[in-house]
Amino acid sequence: MRRALIAVALAAIVAVGLHFFLPHLKARGISEGTPVPQPLFQLTDFTVPPKTSACLDQVALEPGLQVAAFTVDTTGAWGPLRFSLLAGKFKQVRDVPGGVGPNNLTVAFAGPPSPSLGVVCIRNRGGLPVALRGTNETRTLSRPRLTIGGNPTAGEVSLAFTSAGVKSRTDFFATMARRISAFRPVWVQPVSVVVLLILVFVGAFVVPLLALWRSFALDERDQAEPNGR
């Protein structure tokens, strides 16, 4: 009877575990970096005059097909934009048609052949000023420095990158392991991260249960031999 109850308990654990973990095992797209997050509390718009560029430098660029996301906050009509990335010899240019009103824009591009630091520019090719959403919050400001028309400007235009497609599970886990090992001591490598996490994930279920089982056995032995050996 006790074994039957334990079997039921284990089945319940498996069922609950599948409920929580299956969604996380689906192949999906991932972030390729957030050079400048959206503001948390205080929104700031940066006006880019006609024929002028707003540029962010020291932007981390990853290889692969990606989508850049930024926001136009102009209430009226705004002209076409040119989105460009520059990192050493690498250059990508994408044109964005004009529009009307605030708009969350996405621009597909291919990243540089290897991880790089580069400059991202949004050029206003239209005849009217365009407002780009950004931030001036101290806690949200990050490393990239903003210039508008070549002039340093306080604050930063919000910008984020995501993968253009869905990552396979293998690619996903490999990417996670590589990213976890960044800014770590030299002995933390992707392989060691993967091995360690597998040991912990499996061990979390196995070790406590084995310890419990062993403890019950030892307690029963002690009860059977109350005076010791």
Binding site: L61, T140, R143, G203
Partner: protein, 482 residues
Amino acid sequence: MSNAPRSSRVRAAVVQPLTAILAFAFLQALAWTIVIPAFQAPDEDAHFAYVQQLVEKHRIPNTTTPGSPYSTEFIIATTWAGFEPARGDPQAHTGWNPAEETAWQQQEKTVTRADRANGLGANPAAQNPPLYYVYESIPYWLGLHTSSASFFTRLELMRLANIPLFLVTVLFTWLLVMEVLGRRWCAALAASLVALQPKFAYVAAGVSPDVALAAVWAAFLYVGVRIVKHGATARRVVAVAACGIGALLTQPRSAAVIPIALLMVALAPRERWRPVRIAVVVGAVVAAAAAFFAFAQTLPSWVKSPSSLHPWQFVSYLWQFYLPRLPGMDPMLGPKYGAGTAWVNRFYGDFGWLEIPFPGSVYTGLRWATLLLIVLLAVGLVLCRDAVRRNWRVAVALIAAVVLELLVLHVAAFEALLSNPGDPVLTGRYLFPLMSIWGLAVAAAVTVFPRIARAPVAVVLLGGGAILSVLAFTLTIERFYA
């Protein structure tokens, strides 16, 4: 046993449940130190800066000096790694690009000792006594002076130094449960649950005195229970005094150790009282209290003027923290924030800077489980009243420890709310000093079940703990790296 071959003794030790649990706890703690990006554990930046000042400038920071507590080296590292914008903002990510890391390494080469030592501004962690930071200064100093360890390597070494403290908490949970319940399976259940407790493991992986406090309290409570059960021997008296002083020198929230230590000595079997030992304990406690308040440089306002605590308002605040407001009661002081959020959600989850929650269904389940735990303990006290009566001293000591520690936390929070009603102050990790008692309580609750159901219930609890632990890793990895 001692005459058995060495290989048999080694095998016996390896297969012993406690050894296995500690080995797993070590691996899990190691994994957390690596998975959590730098300074994405609560207040880790302030604690690190405290240690850096201690080692580089040989000074204890304060909370008043104008300027930033973060050194130039700190700012360089965190700027390239993108840590500040990511703090508490789920849409932001920390850095992982090799080009960023290379750029940081190049700039790190230009950092001088002056750049490491110039974080002279006010540090909120400076309100803590220095014991934990002295402990953490050892790995920092060793890393710097034996291998010229980089900024992030020094941080990792400091995180690794927390692992023994985490293991000590698990160990003393086992010992406490063996002392009180006397059954290995109860100890295995309790120690495993403490090791698997996701928020405890997360916080313990960052530079933070919370894990030191949990370790010292776990030892304090175990020795205290031994005093209550077996008497105040010289060794136990010295040990409990040392643990109590250690707790006070780690975190001001440990003020409850003073009355708890006195109570435990008072509850010790009378026939084993020795005036000298009692005098030692009382003297140590008084000395520690004096040092504690001297460090704090002020007595709490309610000590100088008890009426400033507004007793009825305090009772109203305390009631509404745990229970619905009664007709005629004033609205609760501070924001809408109570035991469900503080003692359940933030005790088990809300990782990072509170921006990584478990799914809502998990919190609902945990709240019901907490209520069930309380009901089972109450039922157990009735069903096992004969055993409780025989061991009433231990029961009183443990219940008093919980009540007194909660009271200290609530008084401190209430006092803070009176001057700043916007910040509820209390959060789940403030219960970590009672971690071993939590493990004991869960194990005791399982003993209320019929004998045939205890193993299945324990299996469910351990499975649940494992699910929460792995889910915490999953959510954390996705939040920072995906």
